[in-house]
Symmetry: D3
Subunit: 323 residues, 6 copies
């Protein structure tokens, strides 16, 4: 019997994966004495798998990059990793086999929760993977506001590490701007320049170029942004990584948010400034989705098949969609 147990996710999938085993989702609980709770010690990834256009193959984008980034987050937080890339991928396939439905894509959240150890001694972490269905239709453009809460610098709480602790400030930010009727918040960094949204990176387009802040501006080292850069260069559009000021953001022609779950979502407004909806970023979004659906292939972007149309595992290495 468990306490303090209400499940707050909007979806309640039947299964989750705990250290490689399927476990009923509602049973996946962490003891309150674990460092995952007392010291906010968990690192995670958000990964997305897509059905191809024909609905015959369900493939996951850039899983190796996600695995590596998860290991890097863990390593920077002194959390040992106890599973290989192949075990990691096999687990995702198992979970996908249980949870997939034909008409929806799937978003995975592999998380390492520190369940044993203290202050870096005898640390043990469990890998829990949850997954949630995603609609395929286009999201509405987003309305954003700049928040008074700032992103941490690297020596305080590294943005490079995807950690639950980064979301304390993100939630304060989002609560603040939602009172204004905005969908999400733009967070500035320590120097007062654009860092990122609460869970996605910021792209702008201006006079034929796309720009996004580099990771040294306190934003995530985003895999999606790297993919978008590949797509933009394929389209012949210059793609700059450089500091962006808040008023440059407000004065840009176009704005979008990029992340695994956001893909490239157009922004219609920041702080009352409005943006063009059918320019470079709309074009970039379109190409990105074609890439995810397997209608386009580009060098450096891989989609690894997990299951086929009948939700059976695809043999490792078969049919990877790399350009």
């Amino acid at each position: 019997m468990a306490h303090t147990a209400s499940i707050s996710q909007l979806q309640t999938p039947p299964w989750a994966l705990v250290n490689g085993d399927l476990v009923p989702y509602t049973d996946v609980r962490i003891h309150v004495g674990a460092e995952a709770l007392t010291r906010a010690l968990s690192v995670f990834e958000g990964m997305k798998g897509y059905w191809d256009s024909a609905g015959e193959v369900f493939a996951i984008r850039s899983p190796r990059r996600h695995y590596d980034r998860l290991c890097r987050s863990a390593s920077l937080f002194h959390i040992p990793i106890r599973f290989s890339y192949d075990e990691f991928l096999a687990g995702l396939a198992t979970l996908a086999g249980e949870l997939l439905v034909p008409e929806k894509d799937l978003w995975f959240r592999p998380t390492l929760f520190v369940t044993q150890g203290h202050w870096g001694e005898a640390t043990v972490a469990d890998l829990v993977v949850t997954a949630f269905s995603q609609q395929k239709h286009d999201p509405d453009p987003m309305r954003l506001g700049v928040t008074t809460w700032r992103r941490a610098t690297d020596v305080v709480l590294p943005t490079r590490v995807k950690s639950s602790a980064n979301y304390v400030g993100a939630r304060l930010a989002r609560i603040e701007v939602r009172r204004l009727g905005y969908d999400d918040a733009i967070m500035l960094n320590d120097a007062g320049r654009v860092a990122e949204a609460t869970g996605a990176c910021v792209l702008i387009a201006q006079r034929g170029r796309i720009a996004t802040p580099p990771t040294s501006e306190s934003c995530l080292d985003s895999i999606t942004v790297d993919v978008l850069e590949v797509v933009a260069k394929d389209l012949g559009v210059p793609f700059d990584r450089r500091p962006i000021e808040r008023t440059e953001l407000l004065a840009a022609d176009e704005c979008g948010l990029a992340g695994t779950i956001s893909e490239l979502t157009l922004v219609s407004e920041v702080d009352g400034a409005s943006y063009e909806q059918s320019g470079l970023l709309a074009q970039l979004r379109q190409r990105y989705l074609e890439l995810m659906r397997g209608d386009l292939a580009l060098p450096g972007v891989d989609l690894v098949p997990l299951v086929d149309g009948s939700r059976q595992p695809v043999p490792a290495g078969a049919g990877v969609r790399v350009g």
Copy 2:
């Protein structure tokens, strides 16, 4: 049945309190989908109760201040509180009645875990109180090192709020300095001045005065420091709240750490600089313990009896030790 469940606390008490009910300690778990885990949303207090010298009354220090600070932490994080001060105190008495042993004091950790809601909407938090026995003997002086990791500023992650997220950096700091053989780390703030140790405030003594940084230097708004200020003033020792630089810390005559659990623990060394062990701070520590044991009473410092020597609840308001 629960997973990822190993309990990492060094003690495993039989009971904890969940929303006012006694629950077997090992059953107190949080679902992985709760914001307590996905967004590190929990706030807590550390409270300490003391047996008086005669072992006849077990009283808790400044519970109203702790309750108020817990409410303030919750409020700043937009977490609703669902219990009154009297309910809070009664819960502590219940738990003390179960867990107390005559020869040891008790440290309580009331924590609000966000178990329902998303991004500030429909937020529900459960109050879990755990408690652990504490030896009465004096701790050894501590050896500390300054860490490269910095405390967050107030607009990033407020130190004023006792939150699990603040411990991500604290753990990085402690791991770093423990490789040097130190017991704990001194964290500097954004401006490079002394903020606090990973879980306690820093006091120095120099030329007859005691000093500690104000909360605007990114340290906790410490109840223990406030009590120590009362004690110091009673002793006729000036007690200053002002910014302290790292080299001032290294060059001070004496150094100590103050917190509910540290009480006032003397520091023998920071970064190789050593400190006097029998000066003002040792005297202050002595008086503080007399106060906690009921051998001294001072205005503005209250100890509220929870149970008597036979672990029966003391009626509310009876025998509060206030100077």
Copy 3:
């Protein structure tokens, strides 16, 4: 004939004072080539005069301090002053004689506009005094929000100098928070701590003490705050000048705004956090108004009579209400 001339003040008094002469208010205009417009070069004071309770004497608060501060602002901006304190005071009396009505107080805005010279060479400034009636009734408590726009540091644009240029950021701030339904904005300084509201200083009360940031936190060197400190000390309430963090503001018991025009206006809310309305600050406000109405006198606070009940000038030095 004049162009670009619509008058934006809500009141249109018949007269203003230009270099000591009464001039029809609507005729007081500055050429677009003047540095007052091309380089935002003007410094000003906001001064308030009060009828005493009996309606027999209209006296102005601390005029010498205002004159000195105006001279200091001018000096720091390399603007020469061409009038003495006595001439200044006589001008206020002249204008008061024209504009006063029995049932209302009067707020003066003496402004030095740079009308000749370039880049500090051959600078000439004209002194324009405008004045507007003020209701005597109490204002409603204010609702405030913290803005993303920050106050300048001293080496960028000194807050110590009351200059029109400081209001560019203040207006951005107020526009931002008014979209949230707030009345005014709290501006943070460069370090992310509380600076001031857009046109008034911030006071908090907590556990029996009043605190306000010192001028080194990027707030005005406020004459009203100095007067309030005198009043607080007379009431036996400790009054601290120290840095205040944003979350300390949110967690305080009481909050108020202080300035010549705000007097001491209670704040009911900042960012959703609400404040007590009948505590120390309400008491302080009450005493302040008694002082202004001549029902109380305190050392160090002077009210200099300008005109009597029939709006005739009061002889210099007669009946100054100093404690």
Copy 4:
């Protein structure tokens, strides 16, 4: 009749343009109650028109860019724009027709002065265009000094917005360094790196490359610098946008100031360090002037004819000099 009216511009042209109408220059005045004066609310552009070498066409450089930037400045300050690009350009032509003389070029200063409204409500701005003759001969190299006054960051007072308020600090800076005998000041930004001169951007040349700070270093988003980049690339000279430290500036081979009015003016000295006068920047300056005089055309740089040699308007779109 007008007061406080002495005109401080060194030239007194007969006419200015107010909301599209020709008005005697000396009559263009702003009421002291307008936010243009009380809150320093005006935004402006500096634009330059050039006679071609033959003296047959007077064309203005990049007017669309200037119009867009003026709109952007206005938008960021919540000032509504009430005129189209065509109306804007027609106004410049009208004024040029009145003021042009054959032997001199013309510099325009279109300014939006906020004349009605308060704190962002009911804001109305009037467009005043003044214009002043410019000698064609080369300026002397400039001697500069680094000032103690710093440029504001974007969240304090955005440099991206051409606003009168930015000139308060610029004037303090220039007054400071002029006491040293310098012509103008280099302002550092918040981080202590080179921002810009008081009214122009800074370029350096070193080992065959030209560099200038990006706008995120608190300098204007300069149209002239963009044109110079086009010219430099046409010359095959690498042109970098990157942070520049003060000692890098002092140690550079060459230094120049770029702006509409400065064009590219060579600098002979900063803080006693001297620069080469006949290197890359001299060459760049030469080509820039050829471009302005119509002796060179480059893609991305447009000069739009306003009037012909007899000062008659040129039909829209006729003879635009774009490369």
Copy 5:
């Protein structure tokens, strides 16, 4: 025979003291391979001795404080000390016996030069004491300018440590302002507030109070300032340690520089702003000199006799002038 040997001190006294031995001044040289030269590793004190009014006793001010500070500087730089306080004092007496003349006071510069060891290993430092005669007459008031060069923060180069390296920036500052005709420079700290002059602390007086920045503002932990605080309190003048902004300095009533060698030197001007010359600071200076001459004694300020009027050593402990 020695090279690169020209002696740059303005005075060339016959003797210096090297590790306790009298050595001809011109022979005291450091090998170029020593860390004193390759890594700027030396720490020093400036100490001053005074003849009493009668010319009968030559006493040194606060030698224990200076010895302790020298030890602290050395300790913070990991330089071992090889002499006791008594040896230190005896050395000063020996040197005073050789160099004193009746009509002049003496300023000592004990310096620890690191002459052996590398990077903190096997470090050996030699104590060299030089001493120079000082006129007794009053210095002229000083004219100061604020410099663009900033004082280091504590984690960069601690101002608390009196080290030759701090003078690299001080010299750049002084060179800069001397081109303006100023005598010395005011250095701002990292936050842009007043730190100190190039070799002395800054005091201001305003409205009856004296203020000086605390050491956390990047100024020396000055013994002279501590003595002046004792004197001010004896005079009944409030003496505040708090951050001071640059414009507060410019707007103050009085300004002075405090240091062992400056004593309390009045400042007549900073950046063109002028100061009163006969106010609180003049009075403070007067009392300070009386104290140094033995015409006044105050608790907490000790003057330790070194030699008598015939330059014979005074027995230790004899005739210490403590209040």
Copy 6:
């Protein structure tokens, strides 16, 4: 006879060069009154000469760049230079002729010590060149730790200037991390990002690209890094100059230190994070050494022969190895 004279260098070569003259190394001493000691006023270069593979020519790398940088350092510190490039080079050849042995390379340390003058007036500096033999074999990979001590910003103590004063902090840093068993320290800059090691620049490799911080991140304007960039580009490896965060450093694939004396030394560990030893940087190191040994030539990298195999001077301009 000289005092305080122990020589701390690990090698004691027979000769050094003082203002062009050979002088016994042990005689090269600086008087304690010189600004080189009292104000840490010296600037230096580290230069390296290599025997070619055949042992027939000893050539020095990029001497012109070093001479220019020395002049620039001197100029920024207002130290006059009294020798030409040819005199400088001739001096190095003289010293090489005396000190070279066939089996070892030679590292030169030309240093300008300020020996006369005060505070920038009448400054005279002596040029002392010392030189030390260097083993040819490969160094072991280094283990590094991040230090709490920070590099100065440009307005405090410019890293661009190679000055002894920069080594005060470097030594504190190295002492700190050596207690952890590390070989050297990584210093962060004011913004908390990677600046440099205590005496070398930091390179990382990640996903096929090499990156190093630009000089605006508070690292030396390194000649070796410029050479390595040439080598990398010749190898077809992208070479980026951009800010690098501490966690990016920890998470990189490879890490190396670059400097004249380090050449390109591989790093095996920073703060416990380990790096690949046979990737891009190992390849880069290999090519760099080939270049230095004359087995490779690349445009923009020059090696200037100083002496031949019999240690006779090579005529100027003969056999410069430039690509």
